[in-house]
């Protein structure tokens, strides 16, 4: 046994002794008033600046939100919107004009927002087959896709309720009679495009049934390039959600008027859902959402206030 071994052995024995005699070295934090005040102040000093920076980023975002689900139904059909939207013979085009209040710097993101749409319903969430999306119709074990699994004994690619209910309103934007170019590439997360949707998988037997849920897919484009589908299939967390439609890569000036021509195809009338069109710039943090900033400022400032209250109490009645 070498010296270091012996040393180590003794150390281990000492450690075990301290363990059994319950005397392990420990720090003993005692939450005295001084500590409470210090910690509150510290929290305040961290969170107020973070909150303000976050809030500033959120405030710098310019956002235009326009609800169009009711307006885009012609007056005579508004009594029965469902039959209007389901009737293929009626043209669905509709125009909106949006006024830009503030200068919007490119890229301007185009979102569609749906409300009361339960993309997180259990039956909906599970109704997909990630294997099939990656490997195509050769992959047969698609029972999870019920009830949109087969049509005429042919497998459906992509199967499942999610794909079946693909959002299919389309938007074109015109400013001063010139169409704004909308970039519809790179709207889905890269990991989805590259790893979850196959490059050699083409839509097959899709929307051929009696009931048609939503958008159709070009059978000649592989799924990994069908970015609308990929975006749609990253199901949302809450029943009110936005999804990215595309990017306008030109700046919009204040007081510009943008006319939107849209095809109002998608049925949200049956269940009272809303459809909105959102144009938004982006900061380093993301879209317009004051919540994080406000919450940080609130936590920070209430910490400081509590610290002050405690300090006064401490001065008034020393323990």
């Amino acid at each position: 046994m070498t010296n270091t071994d012996r040393e180590r052995h003794r150390e281990r024995e000492t450690a075990f002794y301290l363990f059994t005699q319950q005397r392990l070295p420990a720090c003993k934090p005692v939450l005295t008033p001084a500590w409470v005040i210090t910690i509150f102040l510290f929290t305040g000093f961290i969170f107020i600046p973070v909150g303000l920076v976050t809030l500033r980023a959120s405030r710098s975002v310019v956002e235009i939100v326009e609800r169009y689900d009711t307006e885009c139904v012609p007056e005579p059909f508004r009594i029965d919107k469902v039959s209007y939207v389901q009737d293929d013979s009626i043209p669905k085009n509709c125009s909106l004009s949006l006024k830009v209040r503030k200068y919007m710097k490119a890229p301007i993101y185009i979102y569609y927002q749906l409300d009361n749409y339960y993309q997180n319903h259990r039956r909906y969430v599970k109704s997909r087959s990630d294997r099939q999306l990656l490997h195509g119709w050769k992959y047969h074990a698609t029972s999870s896709c019920q009830p949109v699994e087969f049509n005429n004994n042919q497998p459906i690619v992509p199967c499942g309720l999610i794909a079946w209910s693909l959002f299919n309103d389309t938007f074109t934007f015109i400013r001063e009679r010139a169409e704004l170019k909308v970039n519809r590439k790179n709207i889905a997360w890269k990991s989805d495009r590259d790893h979850k949707f196959g490059k050699t998988v083409y839509p097959f037997n899709f929307q051929n049934g009696t009931l048609i849920g939503g958008g159709k897919l070009n059978p000649r484009i592989p799924l990994s390039d069908q970015e609308d589908l990929i975006v749609w299939m990253r199901t949302s967390a809450l029943p009110s959600f936005r999804k990215l439609y595309g990017r306008i890569e030109e700046d919009l000036d204040a007081d510009d008027v943008v006319v939107v021509h849209l095809m109002n195809n998608y049925n949200t009338y049956g269940f009272g859902g809303k459809k909105k069109l959102v144009l938004s710039t982006s900061s380093w943090l993301g879209g317009k959402n004051d919540f994080l900033g406000l919450a940080c400022v609130f936590v920070g400032s209430s910490s400081v206030i509590l610290a002050i209250v405690f300090m006064l109490l401490h001065l008034k009645s020393r323990r």
């Binding site: 910690i39 929290t43 339960y118 709207i187 936005r242």
Partner: protein, 1002 residues
């Protein structure tokens, strides 16, 4: 051919009725003819007998009870908590189920609720939908039930008992090489909530070793020793105790612990009254029933006495130079030194004419002897009360001084006897002797007649002095008892010994003192004795019951009076077994319980093993307090089993008590460490562990619950399956075990220095519904923060690329926040944070990140949804992740932090106050172990102490106790009369039989 007819097997040790039919003769059989199981007979070559009961039918075995399985109170309360959680689970599921039934509708066409939809979502049968959703939700919310809690608790308790209790050096008894032993790991935290301790006396509180300690001769106290209780009193008065320098070569022998040069080696000749000394020593040497054994030399002789008291007295005489070395039926031989002149040794033989035996009524014993020169002397020793009644008139000064000495001895916890003598005139003696012989040979009421005759001669006695024998206490017992009583624990002594002995030990242990109001309920009253003499069993029972009832009522009334006054004296109850038997009757039980719960100490004497158990269960079931029984012998087994916690004294006597116990310690004083340190810590730790488990599972499940409201009550999971499964197993498992093992609010020395801290356990301060409610409140708050902060803040696009998060991004974010927060919350409940806390908390959080990095980085080849694929990398590519991770845990914990701060500031627990008093002290690494209970008293304490020292009406406890197990029978056997051993001795002997030296081999 003969036949025995007898009663059915029963558990009464004191009674037996039967007949022996032999040669057409019917002989009655009584307890006198019965030997109980476990007895060993001595000094006989053979016996002839018949076995009446064997095995489980023996009376001793009938006194034992079934081994109960014990669960701790905390665990039982935990069951209630779990039931509440089940209730909550059910309610949550019901809400979800109703919601799902209402929600489901064909209008949500994207859910594909066509004709062939399965029952789970079929809008045509909403009731079935609700029912099936209920089942789904049941599995979804099942995380609210902390299943791993039980495993963790078992693990923690196991380590606590095997590593901490069993290996604690403070509870290791070096002399017998006995460590403490936790025989079960179920009851660790129960040790932290004990309110009543039931203790056996012999072997537990005392060593069963009598030592001659002091004496008073002719108004002078001899003996320089100090009992523990005197030392304690002196310390409390702030007097420095100096060990009196012992003389150069003090004589030390087992049974003799006396040191005073004034009496040794003939020095008594120079004392003020050497004659009194001489009579004193002679009385010790002559007036006894001891048998010498072995070589007739002072070094080798062994005294066989029925009681160790007697042996101690004779031994004392030997050391004083009056060496009793031989006994014949009529003579006692004493080798006397220094009597006529210094250094002269002579053998003197005294003729023993009469022996007036000891019994519990007479409380004295006398011997009439004739000196070689014809002088007739009656030597008498006995209780001060009976001796003083029979003293001749005059010499009041001596009597008063001696009485003072007796009181002094008594309050020091010593057992006293008064010695007296009387010179008899020959003619007077002769006439008395005739009456004595007559009485002795009478067939009816012989004992009564003998007593009457004895009265005739035992009068006009001359007081010589008094002896004081120390019933050696176990080491540290008075201190331990004092500490325990400061901790709010009440100690009851349950003993088979006589009342005087029990009271004496209670004094010695600080359980009784003269300032206390003592209620004594005894069957040894004249009224009861008178009825007993009439011999009608039914009448006796009825009379005693009435008497006990009256007594109890009276005591209770008086007690309540004292209870209403503010500074009334403390109360004590002393009751003997016979009275207890009636007091335990269902009709009187409540009164007994009320009275005894109001008393700060209770002494039960002459109780049988079964009664010990009954008293224990009376308090356990009647008062619903947590009880602990401690004992060393077989007679304590049923009591040990009856209590919530049984503690056996290990190391010396037989193993029965240890085998029946839950914990075994070598010494009574180790209870201090066992309860105040280990018990308290275990309780605190387990409370924390339980509450923390409750909190973390509730928080986790509630986030899931809030999500359910946003999914159309469909039962969609918020978290991935793996997150949910591993949450309890990996991400939050280890740190809480660290708390269960290492958390210490105050160090062990402070726990013992402030025993009052223990009361937090008995009041169950840390596992009340209030505490549960507070934790639940913060769990709800935190879960709301988790769910809403994370979802609301993710409603816009994240990062500069404008892309949106999906369900799994949000849920992973939320889960990350939950894991981080819950682990940080753990650090907030810790009173001491060791390296292992950091490692486990850091490790848990790290484990989550490692897991998610790997889990979301790979695609599995199985058919499953790859929901989590790349999610964490997507999340971490956005600033949102970092800001949320900073904000949500702080926002969630700020409430808890505020609560903790305010609670400690304005409503501190006792332990928190102690923490702050000693917060600057180093941990108990060596130095603080030396912390003594100092004499620093606050002004308030000093004043209350001064008040307590004011003189009060003092009950005159003089400490008479002459305990003689089997004494009467032993004495009787000297006279050729057979008397049985008493049952309580039998029970005790049975427990001692593994002791090798009591088995004398012929």
């Amino acid at each position: 051919m003969s036949e025995v007819q007898c009663e059915q097997p029963n558990n009464s040790l004191y009674t037996f009725t039967g007949n022996l039919i032999m040669d057409n003769q019917t002989l009655p059989l009584s307890p006198n003819q019965i030997l109980l199981r476990g007895c060993s007979l001595k000094n006989t070559e053979f016996i002839v007998g018949a076995v009446i009961f064997t095995g489980h039918e023996t009376k001793v075995m009938m006194n034992s009870m079934n081994v109960p399985s014990k669960r701790s109170t905390l665990e039982r309360k935990l069951d209630k908590l779990i039931l509440t959680l089940f209730g909550t689970l059910f309610t949550m599921c019901l809400i979800g189920a109703i919601g799902s039934g209402v929600f489901i509708d064909r209008k949500y066409y994207f859910l594909g609720l066509g004709k062939s939809v399965e029952d789970q979502f079929n809008p045509n049968n909403r009731f079935l939908v609700a029912l099936l959703t209920m089942l789904t939700l049941l599995t979804l919310y099942s995380t609210i039930i902390p299943i791993s809690l039980y495993v963790s608790i078992e693990m923690i308790k196991f380590i606590q008992s095997t590593q901490f209790i069993n290996k604690d050096l403070n509870m290791y008894h070096a002399e017998t090489d006995t460590p403490a032993l936790a025989r079960t790991s179920n009851l660790n935290e129960e040790l932290g909530q004990v309110e009543y301790i039931f203790s056996d006396k012999t072997g537990t509180l005392t060593r069963n070793l009598m030592e001659f300690f002091k004496c008073s001769i002719g108004g002078e106290i001899y003996g320089t020793g100090m009992t523990e209780i005197e030392r304690g009193i002196a310390e409390r008065r702030g007097i420095k105790v100096q060990e009196v320098q012992a003389s150069n070569n003090p004589i030390r022998e087992k049974g003799f612990n006396f040191d005073d040069v004034r009496l040794m080696r003939g020095a008594w000749r120079n004392e003020p009254n050497p004659d009194a000394c001489k009579e004193f020593f002679r009385c010790l040497a002559i007036c006894h029933t001891v048998l010498p054994e072995g070589d007739e030399s002072p070094e080798k002789i062994k005294y066989q006495a029925a009681s160790p008291d007697e042996a101690a007295l004779v031994l004392a005489a030997k050391h004083f130079g009056f060496f009793f070395y031989r006994r014949t039926p009529t003579m006692i031989y004493v080798r006397e030194s220094h009597v006529e002149r210094m250094g002269k040794i002579q053998d003197v033989s005294y003729e023993i004419l009469n022996v007036l035996e000891f019994n519990s009524t007479r409380k004295r014993q006398s011997v009439v002897c004739r000196y070689p020169d014809g002088r007739l002397v009656l030597y008498s020793k006995g209780a001060d009360t009976v001796i003083y009644e029979r003293l001749a008139g005059g010499s009041d000064a001596l009597k008063n001084v001696t009485r003072e000495h007796l009181e002094q001895f008594g309050s020091a916890g010593l057992r006293t006897l008064c010695l007296a003598y009387r010179d008899l005139a020959p003619d007077m003696y002769e006439s008395w002797n005739e009456k004595f012989i007559q009485a002795k040979s009478s067939l009816r009421d012989r004992e009564k007649k003998l007593d009457e005759v004895a009265e005739l001669i035992e009068k006009d006695l001359i007081l010589i002095g008094a002896t004081a024998i120390e019933d050696k206490l176990q080491e540290g017992v008075p201190n331990c008892i004092e500490t325990l009583s400061r901790a709010g624990i009440k100690i009851w002594v349950l003993t088979g010994d006589k009342m005087e002995t029990a009271i004496n030990i209670a004094y010695a242990c600080n359980l009784l003192n003269n300032e206390m109001k003592q209620f004594i309920i005894s069957s040894e009253t004249d009224a009861i004795r008178a009825v007993e003499e009439r011999g009608d069993q039914v009448e006796i029972a009825h009379f005693i019951k009435e008497e006990v009832k009256k007594q109890l009522k009276k005591c209770l009334d008086e007690a309540q009076q004292y209870f209403h006054t503010v500074s009334g004296p403390k109360l004590a109850l002393i009751i003997d077994g016979k009275c207890l038997m009636y007091a335990l009757d269902p009709s009187l039980r409540i009164t007994l319980l009320t009275l005894s719960l109001n008393c700060s100490s209770v002494v039960c004497c002459r109780v049988s093993p079964l009664q010990k158990a009954q008293v224990t269960s009376l308090v356990k079931k009647g008062a619903r307090k947590i009880t602990l029984s401690i004992g060393d012998g077989a007679n304590d087994v049923s009591m040990i089993q009856a209590a919530h916690i049984g503690v056996g004294i290990s190391g010396l006597e037989g193993m029965q008590a240890v085998m029946a116990s839950d914990f075994a310690v070598a010494q009574f004083r180790f209870l201090n460490d066992l309860l105040l340190v280990h018990g308290r810590w275990s309780y605190l730790r387990l409370c924390k562990v339980v509450m923390y488990f409750f909190y973390k599972n509730l928080t986790f499940t509630l986030t899931q619950f809030w999500f359910t409201f946003n999914t159309g009550f469909s039962g969609q999971r918020f978290y991935d399956d793996w997150f949910q499964s591993l949450y309890n197993v990996i991400f939050t498992a280890l740190p809480v075990i660290m708390v269960g093992l290492f958390d210490k609010d105050v160090s062990s020395s402070l726990s013992k220095k402030y025993p009052e801290l223990y009361k937090e356990g008995t009041r169950n301060m840390f596992f009340k519904w209030k505490v549960v409610a507070i934790w639940a409140f913060f769990a709800v708050y935190q879960s709301l923060v988790f769910f809403h902060f994370v979802t609301v803040s993710s409603s816009a696009s994240q990062g500069s690329s404008g892309k949106m998060f999906g369900l799994w991004d949000v849920s992973t974010m939320a889960f990350t926040c939950v894991v981080v927060t819950v682990n940080l919350r753990l650090l907030m409940i810790c009173n001491s944070i060791t390296r292992w806390h950091y490692i486990s908390v850091g490790g848990s959080i790290l484990a989550w990140f490692l897991f998610i990095f790997i889990y979301s980085g790979i695609m599995t080849p199985h058919d499953r949804q790859e929901n989590i694929f790349w999610v964490i990398y997507v999340l971490m590519s956005t600033p949102y992740f970092y800001i949320t991770l900073l904000l949500v845990p702080v926002a969630a914990l700020v409430g808890d932090f505020l609560y903790l701060g305010v609670q400690r500031w304005f409503f501190p627990y006792d332990y928190q106050i102690v923490q702050e008093i000693h917060k600057d002290e180093a941990d108990d690494s060596g130095r603080s172990d030396l912390l003594e209970i100092g004499n620093q008293l606050t002004p308030d304490e000093a004043r209350s102490y001064a008040i307590s020292q004011l003189p009060r009406e003092i009950s005159k406890h003089t400490g008479f106790a002459f305990d003689s197990p089997g004494y009467e029978s032993f004495f009787a056997s000297q006279l050729g009369i057979y008397a049985p051993q008493k049952a309580w001795d039998v029970a005790r002997r049975a427990s001692m039989r593994s002791k090798p030296k009591t088995n004398k081999k012929n």
